[in-house]
């Protein structure tokens, strides 16, 4: 016996919503999904009329659904947005080159201009080359830090008002858990913000319209809308720590589906005591990006690669400084010998 749609529209249900337990038919699901994203956008004041918004597009499920649903809502509710796609080519053969083909498909299907920026043109290094230097252990650190900066630079280059990312509710709950497990209070405090505010001059805000959208619904939406996305695992080592947090969360979700919203709620409601010492956010003296150190992580990692000391940005700052001094001292010695 097929289950009927909870909205009593008379049609057969096709999905049980993890957030509410409602059984919905295809049309009522589309309507609920899109309306919730719309409500998130409106109540969070994510956009202003006339804004140019870059959708950070990887070709994966989240950004494909985000680009599609923003286009639908922009037309339906007359947001007056100018939507563009921004993709980062990390230079990972057999992974990103394929997924960028999906993004090009999105560009054609949704009629949005696409800008692709590569690590190679921005930093002089592809991820393939970086992995050649650092091996497969810490490469996700490089990739993550560089992607952040690449998106910022791409956004500046395109002159957009903000960047929309496809972070979903499951991602956010994972991040809250990870920050708790790592004791990273500064990140814990800001990771649930729907807009990461621009504290420094010239930094472009990021928004998360899918912040309250469950991964299951994103995948179901893409499936029933027949949206094409790319779903291959990165060829390099997976992000192991996040993987554990993810598996743990998925196990909890099976027992209690609301756990994802509950964790996000906990993250949003947490208040850090006044006497907790937090890093002060300033600007990187080399590139001007937001940083809590004199040099931002991207600059340290890049310096490490260029010096042939790829571990420079991985461990503690004090160790990095020592390695740097040692190498400089050695160089001086070599120079001295030459004369």
């Amino acid at each position: 016996m097929p289950v009927k749609c909870s909205s009593s529209c008379g049609k057969n249900a096709i999905l049980k919503r993890p957030k509410t337990g409602d059984a919905l038919c295809k049309d009522c699901f589309f309507w609920a999904f899109e309306t919730e994203v719309h409500n998130t956008i409106v109540s969070g004041h994510l956009f202003k009329k006339g804004d140019t918004v870059a959708v950070a597009a990887s070709g994966g499920k989240d950004s494909t659904v985000l680009a599609y649903v923003l286009k639908v809502l922009n037309e339906r509710h007359d947001y007056g947005l100018n939507l563009v796609l921004l993709s980062i080519d990390e230079g990972i053969t057999g992974y990103r080159d394929d997924s960028l083909e999906t993004v090009k498909q999105n560009r054609d299907d949704y009629q949005m201009p696409l800008k692709i920026l590569s690590y190679e043109e921005l930093f002089g290094w592809t991820m393939d080359a970086i992995v050649g230097q650092v091996g497969r252990k810490n490469n996700c650190t490089f990739c993550g830090v560089f992607r952040r900066q690449a998106l910022d630079r791409g956004a500046t280059l395109l002159g957009v008002n903000c960047v929309a990312t496809g972070h979903n509710a499951d991602d956010l709950a994972e991040t809250v858990l990870m920050n708790i497990l790592r004791g990273d209070i500064a990140r814990l405090q800001r990771c649930t913000s729907i807009i990461t505010a621009s504290e420094s001059e010239g930094s472009i805000p990021r928004v998360k319209p899918l912040k309250y959208t469950y991964e299951k619904e994103i995948v179901m939406y893409a499936y029933f809308k027949r949206l094409v996305y790319f779903s291959t695992e990165c060829v390099f080592a997976p992000n192991a720590y996040r993987g554990h947090a993810r598996a743990f969360l998925k196990d909890l979700e099976k027992i209690r589906p609301s756990v994802i919203m509950d964790i996000i709620h906990s993250g949003e409601s947490l208040q850090v005591k006044d006497d907790v010492k937090l890093p002060v956010r300033t600007q990187c003296t080399r590139c001007g990006s937001v940083s809590s150190q004199e040099l931002c992580k991207a600059c340290v990692l890049l310096e490490g690669l260029n010096r042939g000391l790829p571990k420079l940005g991985i461990g503690k700052t004090s160790l990095a400084n020592r390695a740097r001094e040692q190498q400089d001292a050695q160089k001086t010695r070599i120079v001295n010998c030459d004369f």
Partner: protein, 103 residues
């Protein structure tokens, strides 16, 4: 009622789950005749023994699918249909979509 002949069904994979099944998105299979009815529970065991090509732990955990894999029977969420206890019928289309890949 026992099924005298085999049960012909279609299995489909998406979202990266196909990678565990020889990178083939669609499999037409005939489940052998058995006592009692085929359910998703018994199907999963059969798939593990007959179809799953690699890393079974990425697909099956205990007697069910790994959390994060969505199951649709004839385009409907299996959570509406009794999940593991759903009784499979001839010509059913069962789709497994991984939500765990890519981003």
């Amino acid at each position: 009622m026992s099924q005298q002949q085999g049960l012909e069904i279609t299995l489909e994979f998406g979202g990266g789950a196909e990678l565990l099944f020889g990178n083939l998105k669609k499999h037409q299979v005939t489940l052998p005749a058995c006592e009692g009815k085929w359910t998703i529970r018994s199907l999963l065991t059969w798939m593990k023994d007959n179809l799953l090509k690699e890393r079974p732990e990425l697909f099956i955990q205990g007697e069910t699918v790994r959390p994060g894999i969505l199951v649709l029977v004839n385009d409907a969420d299996w959570e509406l249909l009794g999940q593991l206890d759903y009784e499979i019928e001839a010509k059913d289309n069962i789709l497994f979509i991984s939500t765990l890949h890519g981003g």
